[in-house]
């Protein structure tokens, strides 16, 4: 009814002007909502759809690079081919990526929490210096070849511990910032009470503080998972070699390998995007909160 009112305003003597304004507003709102959804689908949905639909095609159809519906579905076939390519390269890459990401997360939680805890609790003349180091770590681009040189000197170049330590070092500043920020909410009186009860300083940290830091640790897990899993440039420099492939490096190499089989390339893109998608579905709110938490203060 209300729509008719608006389309023919002259024939509505019964409706008072106020409710007509309301109807107009409602329609405007509906228009804005529809338009914004369509625009979002166009700008963000089409690329997703494009990749997914082409992963379903055979190589002939995908070579057209269009978004037509496939005449037959080959997703499973494509997946099999991608997974078995180069003697199951992608499986080894998956293993490497998961290991690097997992170990980096554990180390970052332990080292980051310990550092953030002390840096918040203890304010001394050295504090500005530590703040400067954290800021420097966030801003300065890492020096590539000298890092390779250091890794080589200590025998960690092209090894998993090597790439893990580099990832940890580069992600530490932001992690410490997150922990230090959260420590403010844990009252100091709690520490004092524990000390009175005869708790040692390491037990205080491990048994009392660390469990209270769980919310930040969850954020660190999600953020590190995203940044290390998706990292391309550090494995490219510090973890080269066929044996050492990570998922991102494999995808990059497949780009030149599948120059004529774009369906396989798209299948690979799709496969690699599944873990972030799962993470996104489970932790959507947490990720957004975590990413903004450290940065806005």
């Amino acid at each position: 009814m209300s729509k008719a009112v608006l389309s023919n305003p002259n024939s509505t003597p019964i409706v008072n002007p106020k409710s007509r304004v309301k109807t107009g507003k409602k329609l405007w709102k509906l228009f804005v909502e529809t338009f914004s959804v369509l625009a979002t689908l166009g700008i963000f949905g089409i690329p997703f759809y494009f990749v997914i639909i082409n992963a379903f095609k055979n190589s002939q159809e995908s070579s057209l690079l269009n978004m037509d519906w496939p005449s037959s579905f080959h997703l499973i076939e494509n997946m099999k081919e991608v997974i078995s390519a180069r003697d199951g390269m992608i499986i080894r890459a998956f293993f490497n990526s998961v290991m690097i990401t997992g170990i980096s997360i554990v180390l970052l939680i332990i080292l980051g929490a310990a550092a953030g805890y002390v840096l918040q609790r203890k304010v001394t003349k050295a504090t500005p210096f530590f703040n400067f180091l954290i800021l420097a770590g966030l801003i300065i681009p890492p020096a590539v070849v000298p890092t390779i040189w250091v890794l080589q000197e200590i025998g960690l170049f092209k090894t998993m511990p090597g790439i893990v330590f580099v990832e940890v070092a580069l992600n530490l500043p932001f992690t410490i910032l997150l922990y230090r920020g959260f420590m403010v909410t844990i009252p100091k009186s709690l520490d004092e009470a524990a000390l009175m009860d005869g708790c040692g300083r390491f037990r205080l940290f491990i048994n009392i503080i660390l469990p209270l830091l769980k919310p930040v640790s969850a954020t660190v897990i999600v953020l590190t998972a995203v940044s290390v899993y998706n990292d391309f440039v550090n494995p490219l420099y510090f973890f080269p070699g066929a044996e050492n492939a990570t998922l991102q490096l494999t995808l990059y190499n497949f780009m030149s390998m599948y120059i004529t089989k774009w369906n396989l390339l798209f299948t690979n893109v799709l496969l690699i995007s599944i873990p972030p998608l799962i993470l996104f579905i489970i932790f959507n709110k947490k990720i957004v909160a975590g990413m903004t938490a450290g940065s806005i203060k």
Partner: protein
């Protein structure tokens, strides 16, 4: 208690993090200052002074990286600030579709740059790419997005914005959401409209969020590598080479000293722009 506190909060807790940070980040950074002035093969080095820097700054195929890096950083961070702010305002409203749009806009942030780069390289194909096919349907002849030296850099910058806009947007949303309702109510009492609301409340009060977005995206832009390397490899010619991609090319070619000089130059450029920007933006915040 103070003494006790000093003993409890011992700097020993910093040691593990400090060692890793020093060995794998700080030490290489310090060493880069030295190795940038050498002819270097990783096992052997010869001191050659500032020669690498001179080469980097005078060789046209190398110093083009400066101009490109600055353009790239300014374009990407500028667009992220403007679009992010508008999207942030829009997505802080109470429309029903906000949740869906927010998720769609944010999701690319989590995807790998390589995956995004591949998808867009295909979509930007001059004759077959979906973008130009849509444009030709509208009667527009689409450009060769990645093959034309004049626009290739901007094409990649646009993809960068597509991927990174979600981050900028959620920071703006967080900033706008933290503005107390009272301000809007007061404005409405005085008969302000939506534009006043934006200009006099949202814009000044989301300043901290804006500063964060500017700094993060500007530094990110200066350091960019992955996307340009996936989409153009610095080409056609050297038209999309960034400092970071030149560093990689020199490394691949075995010019380790030259590559490190590039790193030092990038380090100086980022610090020279980022630290003052940081100080300036923080000062402005206090003035408000």
């Amino acid at each position: 208690m103070n003494k006790l506190a000093n003993k409890t909060y011992t700097y020993y807790f910093l040691l593990p993090a400090g060692i890793v940070y020093f060995v794998f980040f700080l030490l290489p950074t310090i060493m880069s200052l030295f190795f940038s002035m050498t002819w270097w093969t990783l096992t052997d080095w010869k001191f050659i002074g500032f020669e690498n820097f001179v080469t980097f700054l005078t060789e046209p195929s190398l110093n083009i990286g400066f101009k490109n890096t600055l353009i790239y950083a300014v374009v990407t961070s500028g667009l992220k600030v403007i679009i992010g702010l508008l999207l942030g305002v829009f997505l802080s409203s109470k429309l029903k579709t906000v949740g869906f749009i927010r998720s769609m806009v944010f999701f690319p942030t989590l995807l790998s740059t390589i995956a995004v780069g591949i998808a867009f390289t295909m979509m930007m194909h001059p004759s077959q790419g979906i973008i130009n096919i849509v444009l030709s349907g509208l009667g527009i002849v689409g450009p060769d997005w990645l093959g034309d030296t004049k626009i290739a850099l901007l094409s990649v910058a646009l993809v960068d914005v597509w991927k990174g806009i979600g981050m900028a947007t959620v920071i703006f949303i967080a900033g706008i959401m933290s503005i107390p309702e009272d301000y809007y109510e007061a404005l409405m009492m005085d008969g302000g409209n939506a534009w006043h609301k934006f200009k006099s409340i949202i814009l000044p009060l989301s300043r901290p969020a804006m500063n964060t977005v500017i700094i993060l995206s500007f530094i990110g832009g200066l350091r960019s590598f992955d996307l340009i390397w996936t989409m153009t490899k610095g080409g056609p010619g050297f038209s999309t080479d960034l400092i970071a991609s030149i560093i990689y090319k020199q490394y691949q070619a075995g010019f380790f000293g030259l590559s490190t000089a590039g790193n030092v130059i990038l380090f100086i450029l980022v610090s020279a722009l980022a630290f003052p920007l940081y100080a300036y933006l923080n000062k402005k915040e206090v003035d408000l």
